[in-house]
Symmetry: C2
Subunit: 656 residues, 2 copies
């Protein structure tokens, strides 16, 4: 029997006996440690670098030494000499470093496998919202080196490539290796058209992208181990796009843009209407969104220093109307009872069918929808927040022009949607404006003086800057503060006995409160909150509240264990004020969280991890839609919900 | 226990015991007899008509009577009254007829199930070339009746349809019923775009076409049990298209047209060259073929009284260059060593990707190719002739501008290709012309007098009509006869000692033979066969002969058991003359068959029977390509093959 040596790999701690003379990489593999190599063990890629620990390690009972490996051969010596500087920079002793593909085991060894050399590395990135996403893209890339055809073997290009892939080097991988069998592979038609030329231009050495282990969607000349994808959330008002490195999850560019469809209608209903009354309405809306996406893709690609054609997959979230318009599906039946969508399930559509400027053979994955008003954006939120993995009852409110609300836990999920109107975004408010420089974003009112303090976007100090208007978060603040200090009563009416205060006045038969006098502003007019503005906020908050309450009632709950506020709006509103005017159900403030663009995060999660798409499909199919207008108590409860709740002291954390 | 009755179904002879009161259709099913019904047993479709035999049948030991069935209910009575005339016309006694979906078994019965009521009917058609094709199209049609969405059940259209299909009535079926599970079904994107409108326009009653039990490719309003497809053979010179009823295999229209690419080059090499030297060459050639196919499709559809959009599948055969140009794949590497094609395997490409005017969601199935010069046309020939099922050795020669030759049996198949030049089609021949009115198509020469007799296309009598030229078959005849009567020697040279005969003369230093003097012709000039014409035929026949001989040598054979001549040319040549000049290897003439457009027939077979596509794939992959130019003896053999073989008396059947 061959002499055996003890080899231990760090940091995994795997150890075992291996026969004398075995290659170090093979030894590692036999102990379940997979070390990188993409040069077919030719000492050219250097991906299999390991560090040899020298000394006697009593804990392990071995003595490890460079002498316990075969000396470097010519190729390895050359590689290590060429890269000495880079190794030193990394803090390694060049004398410690060996290439596992060349070194042979001649004695006991303690080997450290650096992160970058580990094939089974679990690359985890923190997303913008601190999410941990396991990387498992839908595409694996293979480096394929082929023998060119000869008279004796003129095999067709596709059959040559398909056999080549089966024995090729997998560049971007995850989970178990899964080399597709040649007969099971297909190739996208547009990709097939480029095949012959690319093979010859690249001297029969190409990088092949295989989608879902079955379809070749790209063939690039030479070695090309980068892999890019994009996730997009198409909102009624805003489109947000993330360009990601699919190998490590890094966000290379985040771009957003107004939805250009806004000129055809501010909310989903008016867009649906537009598609009905105009002959080419659907086409116009569809083209507008595609054009905007292409612009975002180009911008993001430029920022990342790549071409938009390098984007190999796009994952799309969006409300059901945006989903239909993106897919060029007629949306009209979303707009009238019984509110029916064309399709729930997720779809994969070729980029070229949609006219998207990414790789024409790429698949565009559209997340599943749940109902006519609970769209693929909510599916994205579910994927990002995972209420379906919780024992607790989570209430998730995604607030935009329309609000989608989900309540549930691992056993049961229900959802409802309600229009909230544009007031929460600053529209249809006397001095409302979008959150932009010059907008008042915070308002506090003195309890005794009824004097306001405000903060303007772009200013560090309170009451500094020349405001132009008020954005959504500040309107909410103002209303909550006006109620707290007694300017408004519980039904939202101005108290008429305060007219002696210069801030409170009657104009054209309606009351209003002055936040900033003309002299302080940049518009040369007083910035006020009117009785009508207060009513707008009451309508919006009432709709949200009754929806949340109705879902809680289904669960027999008074309040949820946790409230997650999704969407940009959730990031900016003051949760204490939201509680005090009764916009969200009672819940300890420390259990209320703003989670940002969850829908976009969900799309990004599905982009980075193909398993999550199945999860999305399953969860979306499990959610029960609760149709609010069918609830017999709805109307009465809605009217009641417009009132403000009894004033309570909500404990405000000092650091907020 | 319930009382049991004996029921016997004819013509299958299935018999068994069934419980009292069971429905007759259910009884049939329990005995393995499947009776039609597409109205969900509502007595409205009448597809389940059966004839009740009355009397005592000693052979079966039963007495059968109308009394042994429950009396007709209101619906059945109404149906039978409405259709009395039609039943009588069919030669049936209206009193004998019952609807199996309504009648209940009350006693012993002898039931005749007419062909049209049998669900398991094997519809077999004789094709143009007397082929029996089992019908098994790739598409099943389902009649789906859905409940419209309601507020309580607003399920999305696709999910509603997918569940509906799983419980629907299968209109066009074959083999085992195979209702796809909703989750396994997909829908073509273009088809999805029409879904919502079609469902509503048709009042939620639609006919759905499902391709390969997995993909919805069409949704038609109401009941639509017709199913059409087309098969096409794209030849270098001619395109032939067959429009078929996929339910019974009937050819509804057969159209053919010159390949419009001919203006860009007469043979495949010049087309390849055109695609290389012209910037938009490939695009031009591709567009030309698609435009021609669309014209053929329109013409065929008009003839069949349908729309081209009703064509639900297209199956394509053609030589490898035509295959590449049809698919818009660059053909240049087909044209130089090592002669490599882009893809062998069969492909399914969406009609809209190719710009074809059929159902835009339809799949276009392109038969597999075998090599750069052995194309999908040869695969079609293999499918039609099935040498791979034979114990005998069959030699199949598909002769056109290029000839593909296959030799083999169930164990082994080899093939080769050889250019034959255009001489066999009448081109590059002094007075050559295509087979068209005015062309001499047959020539016989008197052994003593050396006087010719000829027959002109469109004339019943010999030596009648005013010829304009000679077509391929007559040139072959003329050369064979000139050799037989001694005008030519075995090397194809004119005998100079015959110059006293007025038919034989020297002009511009070369010999020629006059078939028709100017006075007889419509061109005002003598129609002659020149020494150069003879050389052209020698080159063509030599190429064919050496190719066939080389393949036979691989099998160690002197001659095949059977020769099949495929292609239009094979239909017109005189096989005795082909044998006597050594164009085909020695073989008893009774074992030589002209099989017509086998390639087109193969495409039609694959269109009508989806299983044959797998067979095509398997057979194509099994064929070994024999590269003639690699054979060391090729050149010497080719030169030798140009000579005529020793004169032998070939027995000519009296009726030929």
């Amino acid at each position: 029997m061959t002499e055996q040596h003890t080899v231990i790999f760090q940091p995994s701690g795997r150890r075992g006996q291996v026969p004398h003379g075995i290659g170090l990489r093979a030894a590692a593999r036999s102990l379940g440690v997979d070390i990188e190599s993409i040069c077919a063990e030719n000492s050219t890629c250097g991906k299999c670098k390991v560090l040899i620990q020298e000394g006697t390690f009593e804990r392990y009972g071995i003595t490890s030494s460079q002498e316990h490996l075969s000396p470097p051969n010519v190729e390895e010596t050359a590689y290590l000499a060429d890269h000495k500087q880079a190794l030193t920079t990394r803090g390694w002793q060049p004398s410690q470093v060996r290439l596992a593909c060349q070194a042979k085991v001649w004695g006991d060894l303690l080997v450290e496998v650096p992160e970058e050399s580990r094939r089974d590395k679990q690359i985890v990135r923190k997303a913008a919202t601190e999410r941990q996403i396991e990387i498992k893209p839908s595409i694996r890339k293979y480096l394929v080196e082929l023998n060119p055809p000869t008279i004796a073997n003129p095999k067709a290009d596709w059959e040559r490539l398909a056999s080549g892939i089966a024995t090729s080097i997998q560049l971007v991988r995850y989970g178990e290796p899964n080399l597709p069998r040649p007969g099971d592979l297909t190739i996208d038609y547009a990709c097939l058209r480029t095949l012959s030329q690319t093979l010859r231009d690249s001297n029969w050495r190409v990088t092949v992208s295989v989608w879902q282990d079955k379809e070749v969607v790209r063939i690039e000349p030479g070695l090309m181990d980068t892999l890019y994808g994009a996730a997009v959330d198409i909102g009624t008002t805003t489109i947000a796009l993330y360009l990601c490195n699919l190998e490590n999850g890094a966000i290379l560019a985040a771009e957003s843009e107004m939805n250009p469809q806004i000129v055809y209608g501010e909310d989903v209903m008016s867009r649906i209407q537009y598609s009905i009354v105009h002959k080419e309405g659907l086409r116009t809306l569809h083209k507008a969104i595609i054009r905007a996406l292409n612009q975002l893709l180009m911008r993001a690609a430029r920022q990342a220093g790549i071409s938009a054609r390098d984007v190999q997959e796009l994952v799309v979230a969006g409300n059901t109307t945006m989903h239909h318009l993106f897919l060029n599906l007629p949306p009209q039946h979303l707009g009238h009872a019984p509110f029916t969508s064309t399709v729930y399930r997720s779809l994969d559509v070729k980029a070229r069918e949609l006219g998207l400027a990414i790789n024409e053979s790429a698949n565009v994955h559209v997340l599943p929808t749940i109902g006519a008003f609970i769209g693929a954006d909510t599916t994205g939120v579910l994927l990002a927040e995972e209420p379906h993995t919780q024992d607790e009852n989570w209430l998730i409110m995604d607030v935009g022009t329309n609000a989608e609300i989900v309540l549930g836990n691992r056993r049961r999920l229900i959802c409802a949607s309600t229009p909230t109107g544009p007031a929460l975004e600053g529209a249809h408010i006397e001095h409302g404006m979008r959150a932009a420089p010059g907008a008042i974003e915070r308002v506090v009112i003195g309890e005794k003086t009824l004097e306001p303090a405000y903060r303007v976007i772009g200013e560090e100090q309170w009451n500094a800057g020349q405001p132009k208007g008020i954005c959504g978060s500040a309107i909410l603040d103002a209303v909550a503060e006006m109620y707290r200090v007694g300017i408004l009563d519980a039904r939202g009416k101005f108290r008429s006995d305060l007219l002696e205060n210069p801030r409170i006045r009657r104009r054209s038969n309606a009351m209003e409160y002055v936040i900033a006098f003309a002299a302080e502003t940049s518009i040369g007019a007083d910035i006020v909150v009117t009785q009508k503005d207060v009513r707008q906020i009451q309508l919006a908050k009432g709709a949200l509240y009754v929806a949340a309450r109705t879902l809680l009632k289904q669960f027999g709950l008074e309040s949820p264990d946790k409230i997650l506020l999704a969407g940009a709006f959730g990031m900016y509103i003051d949760k204490y004020n939201a509680l005090s005017i009764g916009m969200i159900p009672a819940c300890p403030p420390e259990n209320i969280f703003a989670v940002g663009n969850s829908a976009g995060d969900g799309a990004r999660i599905a982009l980075l991890n193909v398993d999550k798409r199945r999860e999305a499909q399953e969860v979306a199919a499990r959610v029960t839609r609760y149709e609010l207008p069918n609830d017999p108590d709805f109307q009465a409860q809605f009217i009641e919900s417009m009132n403000f709740p009894e004033r309570t002291k909500v404990r405000r954390h000092s650091n907020e």
